[in-house]
């Protein structure tokens, strides 16, 4: 059964439809919120808030045309609300200087490379990160990302290409710094 069918079930008062949706998307949604917020507790709160809104809307009889983009839109907006309330939104992480260079210098195991990936991604603005996360981790199609973020499909493609180019730039720059440190 499709997600939208479960929402319809929910609108008919069948609460167990929520169980299916939660089991289907808990991990995925948690991963999305965690990558955006980088805090396990906050990610949990955002996930709970998102599913609660889905539950409430479903009980009111609302059935979205496409469930996934709608769900990610609620989660994205909840993250934005959090940043706005806490005034902790940082579009760019400041340069962490020597410490980071030293870490990247020793990219040998997966853990360090994971850290590099996180730091590199954090240097991108939210606009790029959200598109990349929705594509690579949530496996959303470009049209679905466009619906989630309320932007045209071409903008999604543009942000995708530019985001990856920026990441490539960061990689080259870090490699250059790493090579310099070896000399």
């Amino acid at each position: 059964m499709q997600d939208e069918d479960y929402m319809r079930q929910l609108s008919f008062g069948n609460d167990s439809a929520l169980d299916t949706l939660v089991f289907r998307y808990h991990k995925l949604l948690y991963g999305y919120a965690y990558r955006l917020l980088q805090d396990e507790k906050l990610a949990e709160d955002i996930v709970q808030e998102t599913f609660l809104k889905i539950y409430q809307q479903g009980k009111k009889g609302y059935v979205p045309d496409q469930f996934k983009p709608w769900m990610y839109k609620i989660a994205t907006n909840s993250c934005k609300d959090y940043w706005r309330k806490a005034s902790t939104q940082r579009e760019h992480v400041t340069d962490k200087g020597e410490e980071r260079i030293a870490e990247i210098h020793s990219i040998i195991d997966r853990q360090v490379e994971r850290k590099w990936m996180i730091e590199s991604l954090n240097q991108l603005s939210f606009e790029y990160r959200s598109v990349l996360y929705l594509r690579f981790y949530q496996d959303l199609k470009y049209a679905e990302i466009a619906l989630t973020l309320d932007i045209p499909v071409n903008t999604v493609k543009g942000r995708m290409a530019r985001g990856l180019k920026y990441l490539e730039g960061i990689l080259i720059e870090d490699d250059r710094k790493g090579a310099g440190a070896n000399e």
Partner: protein, 267 residues
């Protein structure tokens, strides 16, 4: 290579790297606990917050509802955004006037440029913005028509505040109420066209239609001067054109009202 192929190539190239950014995964027990929490929250929720908000806002006076509507629209884009809009309007208006020679051609250029600035600002002010759930909750109390109309009024008020003092400078000794009104009418008219077409056709199509009307007026201005909306205050057709524009603007605004009523009746 097409854009899609290039994107697909880039995606393949980056897939492995992205996979390294793993995230913790909730266990099945955590999912069960989450479900229990959601249902518990919903059951123990004291009241429907949305209904409470609506009830509180319904209890407000008409004046405070109106103030709330304008405040919500102002806050939605933020003071900086509106101030920047005003500054751009002011700069462009001054530049248009400064770039022309005689008083007569200066006034005409100012009217044309001012109305074009109006179209651009309407397009900018009517853009959609996604700024989180909280503000959407606040705004959703008001209908889209009300919100758009509030933005239209804010833009018009900004334009009046900027162009009124400037018009006295531009018109100099010739200034009078009818002159100021006559020179402001095209700006008001294009603002109304922008608002109405955005309400009927959506934001982008609205801007395109308004630009089309503006360009057709530029062409008419070159050909048959009598049909042009850009009439100098001392022209013989200025009163007729001003009345025509006011009537047309009234009809257009009425059509939005009609659309709104029809929609409500349909619901």
């Amino acid at each position: 290579m097409s854009e899609d192929q290039e994107l697909s190539r880039l995606e393949k190239q980056w897939k492995n790297r992205f996979e390294r950014y793993t995230s913790p995964e909730p266990t099945t027990e955590q999912t069960f606990r989450l479900l229990a929490r959601i249902k518990e929250t919903e059951e123990t929720k004291p009241a429907d917050l949305r209904a409470e908000l609506e009830a509180a806002q319904s209890a407000q006076s008409a004046a405070s509802k109106l103030a709330g509507l304008f405040l919500a629209q102002w806050n939605f884009y933020g003071l900086r955004s509106w101030m920047l809009t005003g500054i751009v309007m002011l700069l462009l208006t001054v530049m248009i006037n400064a770039g022309t020679g005689s008083e007569m051609s200066g006034l005409l250029a100012w009217m044309k440029g001012g109305s074009l600035v109006m179209i651009a600002v309407m397009g900018y002010a009517f853009r959609s913005r996604n700024k989180g759930n909280d503000i959407i909750e606040v705004l959703s109390y008001y209908s889209l028509t009300h919100q758009m109309f509030a933005r239209f009024i804010i833009v018009m008020a900004l334009q009046v505040a900027i162009t009124l003092p400037l018009s006295f400078l531009i018109l100099g000794g010739e200034s009078s109420v009818s002159y100021v009104l006559g020179s402001f009418m095209p700006i008001f008219f294009f603002g109304t066209v922008g608002f109405t077409s955005a309400m009927w056709l959506g934001h982008r199509a609205g801007v395109m239609v308004t630009l089309f009307v503006w360009l057709s007026q530029m062409l008419l201005d070159r050909g048959g001067k009598t049909l042009s909306m850009f009439q100098l205050p001392w022209n013989e057709h200025v009163i007729g054109m001003t009345v025509g524009m006011t009537g047309l603007a009234g009809l257009l605004l009425g059509s939005v009202l009609l659309k709104n009523n029809l929609k409500r009746d349909f619901k």
